[in-house]
Amino acid sequence: MDAQETGSVLPDLRAVATDMPIVAPMNEMFDGAGHPRPECSRVASYLLTMEARRLFELGERAHQMFQQMGVTFNHYGDAEGTERIFPFDPVPRIIPAVVWETIEAGLVQRVRALNAFLADIYGEGAILHEGIVPRDLIIGSPQFRHAAAGIKPRDNLFVIVAGIDLVRDADGRFLVLEDNLRTPSGVSYVLQNRVIMRRLFPELLRAQQVRCVENYPADLLAVLKETAPRDTRDPVVAVLTPGPYNSAFFEHVFLAQQMGIELVEGRDLVCSGHQLFMKTIYGLRRIDVLYRRVDDDYLDPVTFRPDSLLGVAGLTAAIRAGNVAVANAIGTGVADDKAVFAYTPAMIRFYLGEEPLLPIVETHLLRDPDECAMVLRDLDRYVIKPTGASGGYGVVIGPKASAEELAQLRARIMRDPAAYIAQPVVQLSVHPTLTRSSGEPPRLEPRHVDLRPFVLMGQKPRVLAGGLTRVALREGSLIVNSSQGGGSKDTWVLENGCSAG
């Protein structure tokens, strides 16, 4: 299944980082001289005057609260106790208002361009005619859905919900690492983390004037209703989940609960007369919008994988007939393809006539012979990612690979260069994080972080203030994957004028 959903909320940070720093990473709380940055001064002094033991206890309390609330994710290949808690670090990450303003504008700009791109390639294909994006790259992408050609979502919004992964480099610049435009997950942790933080640090939260996040479900429902293909006064919206065994199942339940709508599985649905219905105790009830957390491939056994039980037969035809909308639309995956990623700045210029506000991590397409030759010369300085895979599969980090691994990689690249991209190693920023190695007293140590903000696109864009900060809890580790010691932090975007604590 789609790594955006099953591979968790967790990107492959290892793909962009190394624990052999070339330059020192940026510390988000303290400057080079060890002084707290202005926006962090209040939190820093609060934490520094608090005994580590006390902070540790708060961390433990947070863990218990997550367990009591049943905020868990399912972990595959784990015989006993498949429910796990996504580890939570009680030290918040602070983003001052002025920094956030730029990020927010950059995110909106980016998702606008990506939507224009999707409308274009499933429509007239101007960007392909112009030769700005190679046609074969799009048509040949495993994520390109011929079934989506000619389907026009309302307002041309293919992507209603986007999760854009950002990293911060040694200079403190936010860079886009990748886009998640299919079924991005993790937003429930953002909301739950804040619930926990309110209980742990009420006075600190109040003093800092942190922008609230709890409007997200209402905003999500609003944009979902706006995508309804027919004019009904109150469109019926449902969340489609693959079911309790999906790793993000808690989030599906949570969002349905918060939006006050039904959570359906494929077996609850039926298509009839090109309309979508759910099976209720009083008979069939029509659905106008499906917020689906099931990947394209499994959505409709008539159009896609015939063996899928997770979707409903005839859905694509119902969408095409204009009787139901799914969000995100079918076929958005082509726009978050790793090779297509390299063209996103060009898309922003082409569709919006603007310069990108958020730079992307430099990306080399090895299908280009010059780029390929350049990368092969210094293979050990790049991160190499296969374009066709997601979830970190097949990623090789040059500086950490053995000579033998590099030789094998070189052979694979030369055999099929178009199947790979290369990115330079980015030195991810670090953030003070509570460590709990056994036998030692708890301490605050710098740990690598990234950020996944969430963007909602409706008649107007809405960006969740902050997003999910993921942290690699193990020393030196750059892997924030929860199965390998990754966790999350609450992200505090400060209100205007409150940046100087």
């Binding site: 367990q67 009591q68 609330m69 049943g70 079911g243 309790p244 199942f249 339940v253 949570f254 349905a256 609960q257 918060q258 006050g260 039904e262 959570l263 359906v264 599985e265 077996r267 609850d268 759910m278 099976k279 209720t280 105790i281 009083y282 008979g283």
Partner: protein
Amino acid sequence: MLRRIAQQLFWAARYLERAQWRARLVDVNYNLLLEVPPRDADPWEALLAITGEAESFGAHHSRADERSVVNFYTLDRANPSSIRCCIETARGNLSSMRHQVPTEVWLEINRLYLDAMSWPADALALISIPGFFTTLRERFYAIGGVIQATMPRDLAFDFIETGTMLECADNVARLLDVKYHYLLPRLEDVGGADDNRQWATLLRSASSLEAFRQVYGNAMQADRVVELLLFNGDVPRTARFCADRIASALARIAGRYPESEGPDVEPGRLTTLLCGSSAAAVIHDGLHEYLLDFERECAALSNRVAAAYMVID
């Protein structure tokens, strides 16, 4: 409401009620044995008969003694009807539809589940068996209380009520049946001290001993106990009380149908069985047959409800 959700709510409620009845039965039997050891009728065997699980117990155990039966009913991960497994199943059902019940209900049930997962494998490792059951009973009351206190009287509530009351009615019938059929095989013992003590125990299992004394005073008589547990509609955990609530829940479910024509399940014979009879009559005609009939009706009604509102084709 989705048919799948209706089904999951109904069964979550049944499993919780079943767990609660298991706890009552084991607790009361355990306490009974603290004072006077059984003469010949083994209460642990009787317990297995009540729940209809002598066979599945026998598959894993050679002897029904206190330890093996308490473990079987309470902690056994291999017994799907053990208290631990019932709680796990109910919580599993509920966790996939948390959005249908108030958060407080979920938190309370999840709390019990987390406890149940940390219970030992052997009852002898419990600090105190009576203390364990006292706490457990309080937890079940807390869950029932939070359901009553927080749930809107909507479809979710009605399906929970239907499931709870059907499971409860079935358990009352089984409880009575065992006492009548298995516990006291010898006619000359009827009315004796042991007999009375067993009836009192049975009433205590249903938390109805105090209600019985309020209605009938101290004179323990078989037909009065039968009358109370089957036909008194005022006392919780009697067959009549449950049947009345099932009938109103089903009527509310049908009444919410947006159009006039819709599925409509009526308790039918379950009500007829309880309304047209008296304790004297059913005892005269054969209580065991009557109770078997009643249990069959409970199962049949459960199937009718499932066919009308739950089965997904």
